[in-house]
């Protein structure tokens, strides 16, 4: 227990000190995006890792987060914190409306129905007047809290880091709580969990909604940082990328998801040496890492015995 505390402290120290060592603005900028993707991936892992269902609609919720935040900020001039929380709530409501019917299905059926919902959301963003169609919503201002504007890359890095830590805390707490144990129990053996009196469906919906709220938070941070969103931000890219992060990192593990997200966000950027081949290599890497690391990076680390197991993983409950 003590050892893991020290280790966690070490990770936090590294995360806090990172901008001191990463000097270039472009590199710092990358770390801001990596942080946003950690939030997105943690949200998806709530569904993929803990509920044990494959959501192919996560990008749609990220998009809702960007649009909800941008619309509130542009139309009503809301302060950052208000539209951030608003975006999280709105995304959560959509998460409930979509998750409630979808979670009655499982396996490929669930995957495809969530995909269909996300595509419809994108079509709405593309064809509605209030979203300004393909032109998108430019001109969202930088985040501002109590008079402090998050203008620089460094300031945004710490803002995103703060939200990442909150999300890790929420995930950790949820997984360790009775609710979380019920969710894991459902994943491992739904019938057994049900027979013990666990209302499986309710917990699945809860985890799904929390996961979508993370996506909303990521979307809100994203739109305030880049000042812009358009229907592409509901696209499949924002589903596949966090999915690759979660599966390559190791699903059902906070550590794995964070490692996967950082690696998968930075890797394509550093593959720029291979410029034009970057995205091809990205696709190839997904396939290769799946074949050679069945339990993801987290599983590989655990296998090597480098770190003690902390989060409940597959087959442990």
């Amino acid at each position: 227990m003590n050892k893991t505390r020290i280790l966690n402290g070490l990770w936090l120290a590294i995360a806090l000190a990172l901008p001191l060592y990463v000097q270039g603005l472009y590199q710092r900028n990358l770390f801001v995006f990596a942080g946003i993707f950690i939030i997105l991936a943690l949200g998806l892992d709530m569904v993929v890792g803990y509920v044990g269902e494959l959501s192919l609609g996560h990008g749609g919720f990220f998009g809702i987060g960007t649009y909800a935040s941008a619309l509130m900020a542009l139309q009503w001039n809301t302060p950052f914190l208000v539209d951030f929380i608003g975006a999280v709530l709105v995304t959560g409501i959509f998460g409930f409306l979509i998750g409630f019917p979808s979670l009655r299905l499982t396996g490929p059926y669930f995957a495809i129905v969530t995909f269909g919902f996300a595509e419809i959301l994108q079509l709405i963003a593309l064809n509605s007047n209030f979203t300004r169609g393909p032109m998108g919503l430019p001109g969202v201002s930088k985040a501002r809290i109590f008079g402090f504007t998050f203008q620089s890359e460094m300031a945004n890095y710490y803002l995103v880091l703060g939200v990442v830590l909150i999300c890790i805390f929420v995930t950790h707490r949820l997984v360790r709580s009775r609710t979380g144990m019920a969710i894991v129990a459902i994943r491992e053996n739904e019938q057994l969990a049900r027979s013990m009196g666990v209302n499986a469906f309710r917990f699945k919906v809860l985890a799904f909604v929390i996961g979508t709220m993370f996506a909303g938070a990521a979307g809100s941070l994203y739109v305030h940082y880049t000042n812009f969103t358009d229907p592409d931000h509901m696209g499949f890219f924002y589903t596949v990328t966090p999915l690759a992060m979660v599966l390559v990192g190791g699903r059902g593990s906070i550590r794995g998801t964070v490692i996967g997200a950082v690696l998968f966000y930075l890797l394509p950027e550093y593959l720029r040496a291979a410029a034009a081949w970057r995205l091809s290599a990205f696709g190839l890497l997904i396939v290769i890492s799946i074949i050679f690391m069945p339990q993801g990076i987290d599983g590989a680390i655990r296998k090597l015995g480098l770190l003690r197991k902390r989060t409940p993983a597959h087959g442990t409950v």
Partner: protein, 292 residues
């Protein structure tokens, strides 16, 4: 109004045949390998571009270019199955799906490197001149050809699955790979064959429809989504269901466009998809008999 509806029905049926071809491939792969092949759309795209290369570089005619596309993509399909699916057979369905997603990203971006981002066109000896079918309904020669050849192919595929020995081995493997293997079916061969067969169907669809499209490397994204809708409507792994589903989706979209704003044409498919999944998850046309 009646004319318009009939016209849209004709348009819908001709595109529906294409949907059906891609979806039969997808549903066969799903039924036999148990994999949702997310890269199916890329094979459709590669079919069209392989035909383009055959025409421009090798100087092939329209029919020869379709044949070329079929062979090239079938070989790619074999390679794809061997490299990205065979090593992880039996693993979690997410893993298999993600592997095909990775493969799809790879294929699309590699195609972009090969053929570039500019739209290309395929040529065909069949004119885009409309033929009057009666009641003011028209169809172009090329679209009529697509419809007739597509329908013919679908008939052949059905015969193949129902009547041949290999078709029987496919059905047996779909039902129970272990038992099929005990009965002397080479399951490894069947898996490779099915993947090649399924992707080749997408390639034929792409090269057949090619002359009426602007070819772009992103055209597969659209195709895989439509094929999903069709597979869901027909019931997973159900070939007759995929045929009916393809035609129905084509009709629904093209007739739907008369009543809905144009931008929402694609939403017709998704709405059907979601409604079917929520209320009849085994498919509208499902007989519960699987491949047969």
């Amino acid at each position: 109004m009646l004319n318009l509806l009939l016209q849209q029905a004709v348009n819908g049926l001709s595109i529906g045949v294409i949907y059906a071809l891609i979806a039969i491939g997808l549903t066969l792969i799903l039924g036999i390998l148990g994999v949702i092949n997310f890269a199916q759309g890329e094979f459709y795209m590669l079919g069209a571009f392989a035909a383009f290369t055959a025409q421009r570089v090798l100087g092939a005619g329209y029919w020869a270019s379709i044949l070329y596309a079929l062979v090239v993509v079938a070989l790619l399909g074999i390679l794809f199955e061997y490299l990205s699916l065979r090593p992880i057979r039996g693993r979690h369905e997410f893993t298999l799906l993600l592997s095909t997603i990775g493969g799809s990203i790879f294929l699309q971006n590699t195609a972009q490197l090969i053929w570039g981002p500019d739209p290309r066109t395929l040529s065909s000896p069949f004119a885009h001149k409309p033929i009057l079918l009666g009641l003011g309904v028209h169809i172009t020669q090329q679209r009529l050809l697509v419809f007739v050849v597509g329908l013919l192919l679908i008939g052949l595929i059905t015969l193949f699955i129902k009547k041949t020995k290999l078709g029987m081995a496919l059905r047996a493997t779909a039902k129970d790979p272990a038992t099929a293997s005990l009965m002397g079916v080479n399951v490894n061969f069947i898996f490779g064959f099915t993947f090649a067969f399924g992707t080749a169907l997408a390639a034929v669809a792409g090269s057949l429809l090619g002359p009426v499209l602007d070819l772009s490397v992103t055209m597969g994204e659209w195709a895989v989504i439509k094929a999903f809708c069709v597979v869901i409507m027909g019931g997973m792994g159900n070939v007759p269901g995929a045929i009916l589903g393809g035609l129905t989706l084509g009709l629904a979209e093209n007739i739907g466009i008369v009543f809905f704003p144009t931008g929402y044409q694609d939403a017709v498919g998704y709405t059907i998809l979601i409604l079917v999944l929520l209320f009849r998850p085994r498919g509208i046309f499902s007989t519960g008999k699987g491949l047969a």
